[in-house]
Amino acid sequence: MINPGHGRGPDSGAVGGSSNSDPFPAGLRVLVVDDDPTCLMILERMLRNCLYRVTKCNRAEIALSLLRKNKNGFDIVISDVHMPDMDGFKLLEHVGLEMDLPVIMMSADDSKSVVLKGVTHGAVDYLIKPVRIEALKNIWQHVVRKKKNEKNVSEQSGSIEESGGDRQTQQQRDDADNNSSSANEGNWRSSRKRKEEEVDEQGEDKEDTSSLKKPRVVWSVELHQQFVAAVNHLGVEKAVPKKILEMMNVPGLTRENVASHLQKYRIYLRRLGGVSQHQGNMNHSFLTGQDPSFGPLSSLNGFDLQALAVAGQLPAQSLAQLQAAGLGRSSLATKPGMSVPSLVDQRSIFSFETPRMRFGETMSSGGTKQMSLLHGVPTGMEPKQFAGGGHLRLQQQMRGVQNAQSSGMMMMPVAADQRQPSFLGQQQQPMLSSGVLRRSDLADAVAVRNSVPESSSSSRVLPATTHSVFSNYPSEIPRTSFPLASAPRISIPASVSYQEEVNSSDAKGGSSSAAATVTTAGFGNPSYDIFNDFPQQQSNNRLNDWDLRNIGLVFDSHQDAAAFSTSEAYSSSSSTQRKRRETELTVVAEHMQNHHHHLQPPSRSLNQMNQIYMNGGSVRVKSERVAETVTCPPATTLFHEQYNQDDLMSALLKQEGLPSEFDFDGYSIDNIPV
């Protein structure tokens, strides 16, 4: 017999009692999102019974706008998974990125895959409907946990604020640039917002990688690597603090330290959405020797990359092509009459909002770090700094950007990685591997050009995924183009069309082999715009506006990249520039110049990094801008996207119109190990 009232009574009574005695859980501000009115009503009632302050909402979009309007108005979000207007996971993503609030997912769907998806996307909990009040009574713990973590982070570093200051400055500068450049503010802002988000992520990454939650223990990169190694050895799911501690065998480290770090690390992994799994691959392809050090980084990348699937490694040819492309690009830059970028530009090479200064520093100091592209980024950028903004996220792109200043460095080809987000179940399409181009000074660049046999020959454009990131550095330009993994469903259709486009473009390129063409792929994503943050040439720089929201576009780009990689024809094409603008956003995927000109790209130094998140159905592209100094050759070219001849034409026209060169780096953030 079931006795109504039996069993519940105690619970509810307990709730009330506890609330009274200890006010804390009472008054917890909860936002409930569910399109099902019945569930919503019940949930509201239950939550109120817990003495929480409840705001209910039947649409994810509305919820998001509520959250944005009132960033500090809520302590926790409870969201249904299946909603018509916006997938709960997407909402989760947005909330995680923008507000950093704990989010609890709920659904009647108790399939393991969905639950796992929620967890990997950063949900702090996953409730199966029917939701019980007992479960709701304890949700405040997530709020406490979150705040506790944040507190630790803030305590950790004073540097964070400093970095924040830098960032602020950077932003202002960017703004000024934007104004002068006449870039549309809307895009700019969006991009900036995006950056911030990225920074936030970065911050988290930082926490995971190098930071320390415990004041006493500083999780240095090395320490974190040890930690990661131990966890990997044990298995992420099976790793327990005690065993990790034993494996690490670090004096002074306590189980609590490890436990805390493990918790963060797991959260981090979740947020990566399974990307982490690909890390190993990434490391291999990119950094053979550096694996350990990059491990953490790669994870960061992975985070961004979630959505991205990396195609197979780039063949040597492709690398050569990339280099050539870079050279060509540089030539293009010069062509427009752009003067060679001044040193000043170089300083700003890395301009992520915050990181920029740092990057600059690292760059300058980095004479020795060629390889450091990957390294430099992680190290150079401290989690704290990113975290400092609160929501700043570093993009991995930055990493890619780091270039070794060492002169004589030529372009570094990067092998592409294939990644598949297992969690997402997304299909990965083979994409181009990322190529890293480095440039030394202009003189160096020239030498490089010569040095590179392939480049001497007709330059080839490397196909890159749309997301591939190109970083142009004055000194060295690492390029990494990452193919993004696209969700299967989306990618498939898009890929077809793209390839066709690509082919056409290729043919075209072939015909006009002499002429270098720049291809830029534009993806319009409403939410994310990529802006060039470069003070110097922002107007020019802004080639790519990424909208995160356009999933379809993103996928397309990915597919394109894949197509490119596969198609040699493309590579053969001397140069291609393409621009695409879709909807509002235009993403410049690549600038490629084929011609033997391996001039350095004069000015641009924008690196935009695009991160694409593909979560399930939703893909996000994040683009970051890296202010790069002029010297960098725009080697990076991404041909992910399908280009129509028309597009090419228009792109060319645009280029002409553009005074300066554009370097776009389509970074698939995830891929960017560098």
Binding site: I2, P4, G7, R8, R45, K129, I133
Partner: protein
Amino acid sequence: MQRQVALIKQSLFDQGYLDDQFMELEELQDDANPNFVEEVATLYFKDSARLINNIDQALERGSFDFSRLDSYMHQFKGSSTSIGASKVKTECTTFREYCRVGNAEGCLRTFQQLKKEHATWQDRRGLGRQHVGPSKERDK
């Protein structure tokens, strides 16, 4: 009166129409919300009628868009489970299984069953309410 209500409820439980979740709802009903269960039930039937209608239309079209059907049914399941309509929930689950495997026949059959359970639930509820007394409206 109370006893009557309890009896009716008990019979519903015994027959599997209601599950623990319904009790949970009753727990939520207090002086401040004397009609909570009623309101929720009303809302449920109103919304579920809409869903049933949607599914009906989708099925009548002949072409089976399983993902769409699954989506509808998921919603149905969500609300049914939240209110404790266990039998309806069971049918929802079955329906979704058929959707998954693309069994149109199974979907149709299950849906008929689901509607039946839903109607029963509704009827019982109405009945119970009448016994109880003030039933405002037959939901739906």
